[in-house]
Subunit: 363 residues, 2 copies
């Protein structure tokens, strides 16, 4: 997660972290080599984003599906040209070990299943790209890292914003000193959740909006500063006693202190719709990205001393962000390189989330 | 500060808290009765805002000046038609007691002088309109309240945003339930301070940016919710070791928890320019006021379920906010009514500021 300037230049050079209006896709060379993904969990993010992203990629391919709903899986398989023999369920999942059509799995299950399905994939000799949050607790994160290390397989957490042009441009502006000394960051992300979502089940979700959407703000504070917080503090609350928040919190605010002295104030909610956004205040200028975490339409605004103001909406339609993510992980596997958003990166956020909940009195 | 709906309607009815594009001035009736103000301290806010505000008022008048610089005072007196006999300095200030041309004083001195000059004014039998922050500590605030009560004189803290149309419109929307249940508030205010400002002197200022500009955010969280925080937490830091922050902090972030469960995340800085703004997230809509605390050009944006979006910049040029404030206090004196932003209101903020500093380890 800590980009050095050289790493950043490398990413940009590779066309992966392309901080421009052109899509990574358009610039890619088809090397002929593709990473074969098995998709674990056919929910909204898999079906609506990741799979369409892989479809427009020439470094990745969908070759297998893992689902509890065989009928659904058969339809999706037909759509993506996946062989029927490569459809698995959660019982026979371990037998992917015997299937050479699968190099890696993309795990998009409820949070509490991330650890088990990552560890089983590693044991089956597959690389793992796992959705955020990495798991529901620190112990599971460490077990996932250990399992992948033992199996000598790559593990990446799907922090797609760290591969997305507008966010990379924000990072670049900060690293290049355009804002001068960074002093403050603010960030918020929330939505008005519907009754019945698995995200409201404490066991499945591990927590409330911080686990699900607040994690974007937390992760952003870390990639924008390139620092690890030395102190965290938070408050959580439930206002709407309509049955949605019997298990998890509704609202959460928190503050972070970084070693350099940069301070961040953040908030997240399941009780109100809020764009995901951040603002960075530096001695020489300000940066405002809103929306910052959406699948497309990201907008960056900046006022920097002695320069014309920036106000640009990235022309990078969905599912390009997911294509980039899938491609980046493929390249890590091909190059035997640790992903920038490795298991360690997910673990760091989980430790901070745990500390924030502890501060809220929810440990 | 806790507006009941009836109080709010009363304010609006009086044309003082007018939440519309028309200026309070235009609608005022000249009753012939005016409150005669003595101006204590001829700095930027007095000269640039308050005095021009009174000049366009027909309920208030400037009849005396208190300044350490007689030459400056003579020039200003000529400009405002103040009799030379009504020019005072800090030594003979107490003799305003004998001057029937003075009903009230407006105190715009460095923060640490607010208490002394309020108490001396009360003893001299004058009403007091005092700039924010009320003082540099809780004890002084209480002493100011006590002195004014003993003298049976009104005391108002110049929280001008509580008399300003855009902020009142935001409050009205919230009280009317337009946003549904309020869940989260965010607010920031900061500027890149120049070396040599008295605000950087701990003794004179009482603290860093929280005392000076962060107080707008803190006060806004209270007037927007109409609640008093039950818990506060903060971090402060100094990043720029360029001599400016040898005595006061540079950055401060804090969170507030309100009895209803509303949470707020706020920040302030002397190290970067930031618009003063707030955002309110409710179950049915969002409100964003930016700038929210400037002397003019305030802009309100709102997205409310089932209604067309609002994006309106208030046509209420400076110094109308100060006119409103001066007029409102005049009316309180005429009606023998406790100002909405009384000494108690200033004291509440000072108690919270003290608690936030304590949480930052600066008590």
């Amino acid at each position: 997660m800590n980009f050095t300037r050289r790493e950043f230049a490398h990413l940009v050079g590779a066309g992966i972290a392309l901080a421009s209006e052109e899509s990574a896709h358009a610039l890619q060379q088809d090397t002929g080599r593709r990473l074969n993904y098995g998709i674990v969990g056919l929910g909204r993010i898999s079906m609506g984003q990741f799979m369409p992203g892989v479809k427009i990629s020439n470094r990745a391919k969908i070759t297998a599906l893992v689902s509890g709903h065989r009928d659904k899986a058969l339809k999706v398989a037909a759509q993506y040209g996946v062989a029927e023999k490569n459809i698995y369920n959660y019982e026979n999942y371990d037998s992917i070990a015997d299937n050479k059509d699968i190099d890696a799995v993309y795990i998009a299950l409820p949070n509490n299943m991330h650890a088990e399905y990552t560890i089983r994939a590693a044991k089956a000799g597959k690389h793992v790209l796992c959705e955020k949050p990495m798991a529901t607790g620190v112990g599971d994160c460490q077990a996932m890292i250990d399992a992948c290390e033992r199996a000598n397989k790559k593990l990446m957490i799907a922090y797609r914003c760290q591969y997305e042009p507008t966010n990379l441009r924000a990072i670049e502006m900060i690293r290049d000193g355009k804002l001068g000394t960074v002093e403050l960051i603010e960030s918020t992300f929330g939505f008005n959740i519907k009754k019945g979502e698995w995200r409201l089940n404490k066991k499945m979700a591990g927590g409330g909006p911080l686990m699900d959407v607040g994690i974007y703000c937390l992760n952003a504070c870390r990639y924008l500063t390139g620092e690890e917080p030395v102190a965290v503090s938070g408050y959580s609350s439930v206002i709407d006693h309509d049955g949605r928040f019997d298990q998890v919190d509704e609202n959460l605010v928190w503050t972070l202190k970084f070693p350099s002295g940069i301070l961040a104030s953040c908030s997240t909610t399941y009780g109100a719709n809020s764009n995901g956004w951040y603002r960075v205040h530096g001695s020489k200028g300000n940066l405002h990205v809103e929306p910052a975490f959406n699948y497309d339409g990201l907008r960056i605004r900046a006022e920097v001393e002695g320069q014309p103001p920036i106000d640009q909406t990235t022309n990078d339609p969905s599912p390009h962000q997911f294509q980039r993510e899938a491609d980046y992980f493929a390249q890590c596997v091909f190059d035997d390189k640790q992903p920038k958003t490795s298991g360690e990166e997910g673990l760091r956020d989980m430790k901070l989330i745990t500390a924030i909940y502890k501060s809220c009195g929810k440990a």
